[in-house]
């Protein structure tokens, strides 16, 4: 399918999912229109003319939340999309993100206020995520352990390791709740836009996508990963180290998820609470699906999906609709996007209805 038709198909799927989501909202809400409007315009800042004639920008926080959410989603989207090139369903981005965040915080706290803390924390997060991803990769290539099951199990283990370390090793007893001490100033990223949490990571995400694109298109490893996914039998016969390429695809995906963890610890929260909510890693599935496995399209898909997520938070705060409605919309988007025969079927049905109507009129 050509990219433009593919794009139209995805727009159709998203539109249909939003329409059905609105139907669900109409069932559970007293003011479905207000909720829908909040959902669709929530992340936009509003510009108003103040009394003294100056322009004032409101709701910049939510606009910033949109950008930083898109950053996280791009990175976890990469973590899903890269193993998918090798036809592997890795659901482990969550665990890798937790490991990355933990490593980044531990390194930052250990090094303290030194200029090397920031780059070393960045590298530690990538390494920790990659290591955690490599475990799933090796379990798959050495023991043929189903990667859906192992990555989900490793997620549970990673979250518990995280809670154990934050609660018992890095705990700040003066905080009043269970959390690490605030990370040192030198290890954290300053906001690029005032009053938001948008940091330099917003530029790192597209850079990561570009790096991944280069790796997949221009290096031997990338070619091997693609071959391992396209036809593993042929690849093995041709002497391609399929097992190594597959395992490295997992490690690579883990590195990107680990960077998402760095984003959470050193740019967004600047200290790690014990009850950091798991689940953002799974959102990467939606992003990867919306991008249809095209790595270059990930930032766009992440921006679109982050818009919906931030809109949902705005909606929950402004109306009586819980934000879980976005889970429903997300699920419908997944289902509609992967249903290859849905669009032709719907179009055929519409055409038949139209010809029937035309026939009756004539």
């Amino acid at each position: 399918m050509t990219p433009s038709r593919e794009g139209a198909r995805i727009a159709l799927a998203v539109g249909a999912a939003l329409a059905l989501g609105f139907a669900v909202m109409a069932c559970v809400s007293d003011h479905p229109w207000a909720a829908f409007r909040a959902l669709l315009t929530g992340p936009l800042p509003s510009i108003e003319r103040a009394a003294d004639g100056r322009m004032v920008v409101h709701r910049l926080v939510r606009f910033g939340a949109w950008l930083q959410d898109a950053t996280t989603l791009t990175l976890v989207g990469l973590a899903i999309a890269i193993p998918f090139r090798a036809r592997q369903f890795s659901l482990g981005a969550d665990g890798q993100l937790f490991m990355g965040a933990l490593a980044a915080a531990a390194v930052s706290l250990g090094l303290g206020d030194t200029p090397t803390a920031l780059p070393l924390a960045f590298l530690a997060a990538a390494a920790a995520g990659a290591g955690w991803g490599l475990v799933a990769g090796l379990l798959k290539t050495r023991f043929e352990a189903n990667e859906i099951v192992t990555t989900l199990m490793l997620n549970v283990v990673a979250v518990q390791v995280y809670r154990l370390v934050v609660g018992r090793v890095l705990n700040d007893p003066t905080a009043g709740f269970i959390t690490t001490p605030p990370l040192p100033e030198a290890a954290t990223l300053a906001p690029l836009i005032a009053r938001t949490t948008v940091t330099a990571m917003v530029l790192v995400a597209p850079a990561a996508v570009a790096a991944a694109l280069f790796l997949l298109r221009r290096t031997t490893l990338g070619y091997e990963i693609d071959l391992a996914g396209a036809n593993p039998w042929f690849a093995v016969r041709a002497g391609v180290p399929v097992a190594r390429a597959t395992a490295l695809a997992f490690a690579l995906s883990g590195a990107f998820a680990g960077l998402a963890g760095f984003h959470v610890s050193n740019a967004l929260l600047k200290r790690l609470p014990v009850d950091l909510t798991p689940g953002i890693g799974l959102e990467g599935i939606v992003v990867a699906l919306l991008a249809r496995g095209r790595v270059g399209a990930l930032p766009l898909a992440a921006l679109g999906y982050a818009y919906l997520r931030v809109g949902a938070q705005a909606m929950e705060r402004a109306t009586d609709v819980p934000r879980e409605v976005v889970l429903v919309i997300q699920a419908l988007i997944i289902l509609f996007v992967v249903s290859d025969r849905l669009a032709p079927l719907a179009l055929g049905l519409m055409r038949r209805v139209r010809t029937n109507l035309g026939g009756r009129a004539a």
Partner: protein, 333 residues
């Protein structure tokens, strides 16, 4: 001496009864996963099916009491049970339609349906009870427990058959055992079971032999939904007597692991499900000691991964031994 034996036996019986109870939802779901896997359709939506079944069961039993206040009390849980089975099977049917009619990837669609189930149950729960956590504010009902009469004084057997508090086991615990027997028998000894496995083993050959492969896969997925719903209903109307957000808590994925762990055979699958149930019980027992809760929660996933690795290693050694035996037989002849 004999007193020690009885004490040890009682502890073993308590653990065994608790394991059976904890394993019941996983047994149901893993049987469901097995049936569809053998039909050639991996069912990743087990988790969502359990959630939907538990939710529909709990809500229906609660509203049945509100709508039919004059009906006998035993009716409400059974109405809930029926609704739960129906709702879970319907979700599996949705997976079948998306995969078989609309060409959706089975794994991605399964994950999508899990997310749908998670979102819809919380959304409807918040709408009906005003609470996003659980349905504690509603009075829902549990399915009855079966008690063996006259077992109160029997030392070890009484605890095993009637549970720790002598209250008996939930009827669905026996349901899980019955379902195990039925699935094992039906897959092996009925025409339907043979055809189902044929459709999964080699779809082209089955088609060439004139089997309705698509219809068989529908049957496999729907049956998978029905069996898995049993586990969901047990969660909401036996294990606990309410619905909680994300109540399945990964059991659907554990059940999927049990299918692979059990070598895609009924008894092996159920044995693996019992191992997972045992890991949960062990975790709960260790939690009573000074072991940190975080370590306890790591046990079931680690057991799963270790078991997957060990089974593969075992299969490999067995294959090597067979090959060696074959070579030896060739050389000696």
């Amino acid at each position: 001496m004999s007193l020690d034996l009885i004490a040890a036996g009682t502890v073993a019986a308590v653990v065994a009864a608790a394991t059976l109870r904890a394993a019941t939802p996983i047994i149901f779901a893993s049987l469901g996963g097995l049936v569809s896997e053998l039909a050639g359709c991996i069912n990743v939506a087990l988790e969502g099916v359990m959630l939907v079944a538990a939710f529909a069961g709990v809500i229906t039993s609660a509203y049945s009491a509100l709508w039919f206040p004059d009906a006998p009390l035993w009716l409400h849980p059974w109405l809930g049970c029926a609704a739960g089975l129906l709702a879970g099977t319907a979700l599996a049917g949705l997976l079948a339609v998306f995969h078989l009619e609309l060409g959706a990837d089975l794994i991605v669609a399964g994950i999508g349906l899990n997310i749908l189930a998670q979102g819809l149950t919380v959304l409807l729960m918040a709408h009906l009870t005003g609470d996003k956590g659980s349905t504690a504010s509603l009075t829902s009902f549990a399915l009855p427990s079966l008690r063996w009469p006259g077992m109160g004084g029997v030392p070890v057997l009484g605890v095993l058959l009637n549970g720790d508090g002598n209250a008996g086991h939930n009827v669905l615990v026996y349901g899980a055992l019955a379902a195990t027997g039925w699935v094992a028998w039906a897959l092996r000894h009925t025409v339907f079971g043979l055809r189902l496995r044929a459709a999964g083993e080699n779809a082209e050959a089955a088609l060439a032999a004139g089997l309705p492969v698509r219809r068989l896969r529908y049957a496999g997925l729907l049956l998978s939904g029905l069996l898995t719903s049993g586990g969901g209903v047990f969660l909401g109307m036996g294990y606990l007597t309410l619905f909680q957000a994300d109540m399945a808590a990964g059991r659907g994925y554990l059940a999927l692991a049990a299918v692979f762990l059990g070598g895609r055979r009924p008894l092996g699958t159920v044995a693996a499900a019992l191992v997972f149930g045992g890991a949960t019980v062990m975790a709960a027992r260790l939690g009573l000691l000074a072991v940190p809760a975080e370590v306890v929660f790591m046990i079931p996933p680690l057991v799963t991964i270790a078991a997957l690795v060990l089974v593969k290693q075992h299969q490999r050694l067995a294959a090597r031994r067979r090959a060696a035996a074959g070579r030896a037989a060739l050389l000696s002849s």
